[in-house]
């Protein structure tokens, strides 16, 4: 019998409640460290970090429109985070999020266009299903290659990202192009047919869907046998096999689910903020989603606050050039440094756990 503590890779003798709190502290420390690093970078390049951060906070967190925009940005990021987390639970890295978002978004846009006469709920449902299937298929192929031929999924998913970019660009510029428009894109979805906003805000129904997906994911992972077996598969495949858990099937299912959720994130964008699928769109959700999942300490409960933080960074990248003359790339530095800081935190924790176990 394997102790649950050791299966999650954490110190065996640390009670779960304390683990949660120290994990939260660790994430907060990483965020603080990254913000300090950002301040140093700003100071070196001749910006006033205090002014820059004050502008960031006042334009994002202290304005109703800012808060709404953070929620809008957090929506696809939350879905992308769910996608990364599902795959991470079984121990595979889905770096193909962006490709799956793209094919999902295009499938959603085409389906929505075909269903314009069917009424809004059917249009949304059809587009969502199309996105789930397209994203899932785009995840299935690398998963099958890994399961059947032992081909590393990191490399194939990255290749599938680039293939998705060219494939969707080709489809939109050629066969699927709206001939009445100069810009290569699918037919624009009428505003009245897009996801409705919540009250008098910019926040739309997609956020509710993303929260629902997160909730269902949390329920499956934490309250069902499937979730338990997925976690065992990820923590210790050998033990899982001995426990007669169908490891290969679970890896495949998790990868397809991951792709499908990423596809849904693409549909969300098409049905809300974008309204079309445009060629040469690079969603760039994949790497931030990794930062998001590790910031959430790979726990479903942490995904929402982590998505809000990354949504803040995403919106910050839009407002900071005008507000403080800081290039948007600054926020990529923060996201990258966040991943590194979290990796260091995880290492420090494993060391502490090690020491505790070594003690008599």
């Amino acid at each position: 019998m394997v102790a649950v503590g050791s299966m999650t890779g954490l110190g065996r003798r640390v009670p779960i409640a304390r683990r949660g709190i120290s994990g939260l502290l660790e994430s907060l420390l990483a965020v603080a460290g990254v913000l300090v690093l950002g301040a140093v970078l700003l100071a070196i390049t001749g910006h006033d970090p205090v002014v820059a951060y004050r502008e960031l906070v006042s334009r994002t967190l202290l304005r109703p429109t800012g808060v709404q925009e953070i929620l809008v940005r957090a929506t696809p990021l939350l879905l992308a985070g769910c996608a990364v987390l599902v795959a991470a639970k079984v121990g595979v890295w889905n770096i193909g999020i962006d490709g799956q978002v793209l094919v999902g978004a295009l499938a959603g846009a085409i389906t929505a266009d075909a269903l314009t006469g069917a009424g809004r709920p059917w249009l949304w449902l059809g587009a969502a299903l199309a996105g789930l299937v397209a994203g899932g298929v785009w995840g299935l192929v690398p998963a099958l290659l890994r399961a059947r031929l032992g081909i590393n999924e990191i490399v194939t998913t990255i290749m599938f990202n680039y293939m998705a970019m060219s494939l969707t660009a080709w489809l939109v510029k050629g066969p699927l192009r709206d001939p009445s428009l100069v810009v290569p894109q699918t037919t624009v979805i009428d505003r009245a047919l897009r996801l409705p906003t919540l009250g008098d805000t910019r926040v739309h129904l997609g956020l509710v869907v993303a929260l629902l997906v997160t909730g269902v994911l949390g329920w499956v992972l934490q309250r069902t046998v499937i979730g338990y077996e997925l976690a065992v598969t990820g923590a210790n495949p050998r033990a899982a096999r001995h426990g007669l858990i169908p490891v290969a099937t679970y890896v495949l299912v998790a990868f397809v689910a991951s792709g499908a959720i990423a596809g849904l994130a693409g549909v969300n964008d098409v049905l809300s903020t974008k309204g079309v699928f445009q060629a040469e769109w690079n969603p760039s959700y994949g790497l931030p989603a990794f930062a998001l999942v590790f910031l959430a300490r790979r726990q479903v409960a942490g995904l929402v606050p982590a998505a809000l933080f990354l949504g803040l960074l995403s919106y910050g990248a839009d407002v900071m050039p005008r507000a403080a003359g800081v290039a948007p790339a600054f926020f990529e530095v923060l996201e990258g440094a966040l991943l590194v800081a979290l990796a260091l935190g995880a290492w420090a924790r494993s060391r502490r756990g090690q020491l505790r176990e070594d003690a008599p």
């Binding site: 050791s6 890779g9 970078l41 390049t45 001749g46 890295w93 770096i95 290659l145 031929l149 032992g150 081909i151 590393n152 990191i154 490399v155 194939t156 990255i158 290749m159 599938f160 990202n161 680039y162 293939m163 060219s166 494939l167 660009a169 080709w170 510029k173 050629g174 210790n236 050998r238 060629a279 790497l287 931030p288 990794f290 930062a291 590790f294 800081v326 290039a327 948007p328 790339a329 600054f330 926020f331 990529e332 530095v333 923060l334 996201e335 990258g336 440094a337 966040l338 991943l339 590194v340 979290l342 990796a343 260091l344 995880a346 290492w347």
Partner: protein, 314 residues
């Protein structure tokens, strides 16, 4: 249209365009052989590219720029090594973090230094053997009408091949990736060996990024690599982490990429976007054909902790 001229141009462009990929992929191979899976290649290439471009433009000196790119790569490799080898933190997280941060940092600094300008390098690189191969159709000019750094890159590939497979350091390095516990038991410092591998890998990757800006393109822009770093990782695996095979794969990839431009010259009605898929699909197909159950280093991606035996038996 002159078929020979087109073929020469395609082959020549493939050889030139494969240089950055080749250097980065050989660098990644050296790291992976030592057990380090570095997904930060893309960021390292951008850092090397920006540093090289900044120096080359400032001093109007291409060799100095290439050197600066290599040094920037070395420093980035040192950061990766400190985090992944010394601190033993998760390599995937650090690699992805480096890619994000490297892309962000170079994009940020580019705007800081050049604003909205898009400067070009004033001078281009010399072609020492230009005209020497004109006697031989297609292949002669394509091989010998190249900028001098192309030949330097091939020398580096040959040197890496020798280093990995013909020196005792190379043997230790490969052993640190296959069986670090055995290396440790033999009294060799695994940490030091892997650190050295990460430094060499970073240097070659930074040089690769600099060569893209200074040799292939003549300019640097934010995110100019467009995923070349990730392609380098795929090429390293396709070439089974052996420098000469990896270099050959880089040239093949360059040729596939050239198909795009080549077919545009013919009358065959194919859209450019469709052809852009070909090299990436080619990599996947090549992996299916060549890469079944590919033997990667046994300890790839795993930090070595003395006494913690082989990692997966927790």
């Amino acid at each position: 249209m002159n078929v020979d001229a087109v073929l020469t141009a395609l082959l020549g462009a493939a050889l030139l365009g494969s240089v950055p990929l080749m250097l980065a992929a050989v660098g990644e191979s050296i790291g992976e052989r030592a057990g380090l899976l570095n997904l930060g290649i893309e960021g390292t290439m951008l850092i090397g590219g920006f540093a090289g471009f900044w120096v080359a433009l400032r001093f109007d000196d291409l060799p100095l720029g290439l050197l600066a790119g290599a040094v920037a790569g070395l420093l980035t490799g040192a950061i990766f090594a400190l985090l992944a080898v010394v601190a033993k933190a998760d390599q995937i997280m650090i690699g992805l973090g480096l890619t994000l941060a490297g892309g962000g940092l170079t994009g940020f600094l580019f705007r800081e230094v050049y604003g909205s300008d898009q400067p070009l390098l004033p001078s281009t690189m010399g072609r020492p053997f230009a005209g020497a191969g004109d006697g031989l159709p297609v292949i002669g000019p394509a091989l010998l009408d190249q900028k001098w750094f192309v030949y330097v890159a091939w020398i580096i590939v040959a040197g890496s091949q020798v280093l990995l497979h013909r020196t005792s350091f190379g043997l230790r390095l490969r052993a640190a990736g296959e069986a670090p516990f055995a290396v440790d038991a033999a009294g060799i410092d695994v940490t030091r060996t892997r650190f050295a591998a990460a430094l060499i890998a970073g240097t070659l990757t930074g040089l690769g990024g600099a060569s893209m800006a200074l040799v292939e393109l003549g300019f640097f822009r934010p995110n100019v690599t467009l995923g070349a770093g990730f392609i380098a990782i795929a090429l390293a695996m396709l070439g089974r982490l052996t420098p000469w095979r990896v270099a050959a794969m880089a040239v093949l990839f360059g040729l596939l990429r050239g198909l795009d431009a080549g077919l545009q010259l013919t009358d065959i009605p194919v859209r450019a976007e469709f052809l852009q898929m070909v090299p990436y699909a080619g990599v996947v197909i090549a992996l299916i054909v060549l890469g079944r159950h590919m033997a990667l280093p046994a300890a790839l991606g795993r930090p070595y902790v003395r006494g913690q035996a082989r990692g997966d038996e927790v």
